[in-house]
């Protein structure tokens, strides 16, 4: 599932940050004399495969620049000695939207409290996943980073950091949210016309992440739980009990780099939701097949349009079915290693995703992949990347390929990507 844009509650975004800022300033706390600081990041690139079957949300032989191009702008301001404000917006080819905004309070040494819209600190790269300049790949491995829809939430976040001496530290980070929404635009399938809005609602969200280490070596473990509702124009899933657990390792010393994560779903879903999803998939798939056959026969614009609409509905039904099955038992891992020589970092990644969940029609989400990439630091603020990846779907399963609309089996494929990242 490729996420192409997102929108969040602007009212909550502005109201929470403005209200707290006003309270802080009204309390008479002394404001720092620093002006707000502005920063930004930009990524652009191209991606394509060697097959016309779609991969990871519509990637085909046709060169795709849109999916890798986005711009972020960031503002931060010291409100007082112990209060800060930070906000970020992000723009891609479709929209400009708030990414996050929150106020931070530093009441005692080691403790930070944050209120507002925040990225969920679930994996190693979660809270800066859009900033390509901060990691070696063109995008974090999809075997781990693609199967969690929870990106950000409005609520209360906290970080407690305990310095253990000699640069060693233990960090606990968490986020809780009573009720939060997010909207994604999903492109699924080889047809670029197959896109629709997915409205996500998270209730009783809790994220905890624990890390131990120093700048050269870090181990990390996290857990996320939430009640998730999903709504599109085609279907509604009322209650998924989502749960994700992760462990990660980062080594970055003397030029040697090692990044690795393992993630697993511990969620559950009512049997009634599974039955509804199965039925919807069968019905939508049948309708789509019939509409497609008719369009092929008549060639009329009206029938072609009807086939495209039915196709989009079928792909949405597929996602509904995939969502209810992937909530239970899906897991993935990756390992990346490289060695920096001057400004050049060559690296290799192996990754795997397994999803034992399946219905009688489709076996989901199992694939292996291996990739080789090079990151070149053109200067401290700009890097260039190229990456080639080979994907092996397992035992005829779909993996992260898009649903086949032709009934053909899922085959091995290669993905090629190049990008430039700038931070300013």
């Amino acid at each position: 599932m490729k996420r192409t844009s997102r929108r969040i509650g602007c009212k909550a975004f502005v109201a929470s940050a403005s209200c707290i800022s006003a309270l802080v300033l009204a309390s008479g706390a002394k404001a720092d004399d620093q002006a707000p600081t502005w920063h930004g990041f930009f990524t652009s690139g191209v991606a394509f495969t060697d097959t016309n079957a779609g991969y990871n949300g519509g990637l085909t032989k046709r060169a795709d620049i849109e999916r890798l191009t986005h711009l972020g702008l960031n503002i931060q301001k010291n409100l007082s000695e112990r209060w800060d404000f930070a906000a970020q917006i992000i723009a891609d080819s479709n929209t400009v939207s708030p990414d996050w905004a929150f106020v931070s309070w530093y009441p005692i040494k080691g403790l930070t409290l944050r209120v507002g819209k925040q990225k969920a600190p679930m994996w190693l790269m979660s809270d800066h996943i859009d900033v390509g300049h901060t990691y070696p790949w063109i995008a974090p491995p999809e075997e781990v980073y693609s199967f969690n829809p929870i990106k950000r939430a409005s609520g209360l976040g906290a970080t407690y950091r305990l310095a253990l001496g000699g640069g060693l530290e233990a960090v606990a980070e968490g986020l809780i949210s009573a009720n939060s929404t997010d909207t994604l635009t999903v492109t699924e399938g080889a047809s670029k016309n197959s896109s629709f809005q997915v409205k996500l609602n998270y209730r009783r969200l809790g994220v905890i992440n624990l890390a131990l280490g120093n700048e050269a070596f870090q181990v990390r473990a996290g857990y996320t739980k939430a009640a998730v509702g999903i709504k599109t124009d085609f279907y509604q899933i009322k209650n998924l009990n989502a749960g994700f657990g992760t462990v990660g390792l980062k080594v970055d010393t003397h030029g040697f780099l090692l990044l690795s994560e393992y993630a697993s779903n511990f969620g559950s879903v009512d049997k009634s939701e599974i039955s509804e999803a199965n039925a919807n998939l069968i019905a939508a798939g049948t309708t789509s097949a019939m509409a497609g056959a008719k369009a092929a026969q008549t060639g009329s614009p009206a029938d072609i349009q009807a086939a495209q609409t039915a196709g989009t509905a079928a792909e949405a039904a597929y996602l509904q079915d995939a969502a209810v099955h992937q909530m239970v038992g899906a897991r993935g891992w990756y390992a990346t290693t490289g060695y920096q020589v001057g400004p050049v970092l060559p690296f290799v990644t192996v990754a795997q995703t397994r999803n034992p969940g399946s219905n009688h029609i489709i076996n989901y989400g199992s694939q292996d992949s291996a990739s080789f990439g090079i990151k070149y630091d053109a200067n401290p603020y700009t890097d260039l990347k190229v990456q080639g990846q080979h994907v092996w779907p397992k035992n005829g399963s779909r993996g992260i390929q898009d649903v086949s609309t032709t009934g053909s089996s899922y085959k091995q494929l290669n993905v090629f990507q190049a990008a430039v990242d700038v931070a300013f």
Partner: protein, 147 residues
């Protein structure tokens, strides 16, 4: 013949002096300094690292501390990053990119050369900075020396 030998010796001596001068510039002693009113007399290298990496904003016995950095293209800044922060310039840039774009802080500001740093410290009793040890004078208090 003797002229050539003498010329070679002079070239070697010049080269050695050049190398030693460069080495000295790269191996400057760094002083972490503060206003004379700064509440403590010394600071540990661990505390300096935590402050300059934005992991802490206060010191025990002091409270919230203000910081200034050296200019971005400064050799001294690179040396401070290596010796105190344990990061190459590239690693330090990547580190701050993560903190900036997660909303967890921005790098300390820079104010200019050592005279500007001293003027800033004079105006900020709660501030610390670092400079080449050879530029330290009676207007600042040395909290830590890093060789």
């Amino acid at each position: 013949m003797l002229t050539r030998v003498w010329f070679s010796i002079k070239c070697a001596a010049f080269g050695a002096a050049l190398v030693s001068t460069s080495a000295a510039a790269l191996a400057a002693d760094i002083a972490v300094v503060a206003n004379h009113k700064f509440p403590v007399a010394t600071i540990s290298i661990d505390d300096v690292r935590e402050l300059y990496l934005g992991k802490a904003r206060e010191l025990t016995g002091v409270g919230v501390v203000q910081l200034v950095d050296q200019p971005g293209n400064s050799a001294l800044k690179d040396e401070f990053a290596q010796k105190v922060l344990d990061k190459t310039p590239s690693q330090l840039n990547a580190y701050w990119s993560v903190r900036i774009f997660t909303g967890h802080g921005v790098p300390p500001q820079s104010v200019g050369d050592e005279n500007a740093v001293k003027a800033w410290l004079a105006a900020h009793p709660d501030g610390i900075a670092y400079m080449d040890l050879k530029h330290v004078d009676s207007s600042v208090k040395v909290l830590l020396k890093v060789q």
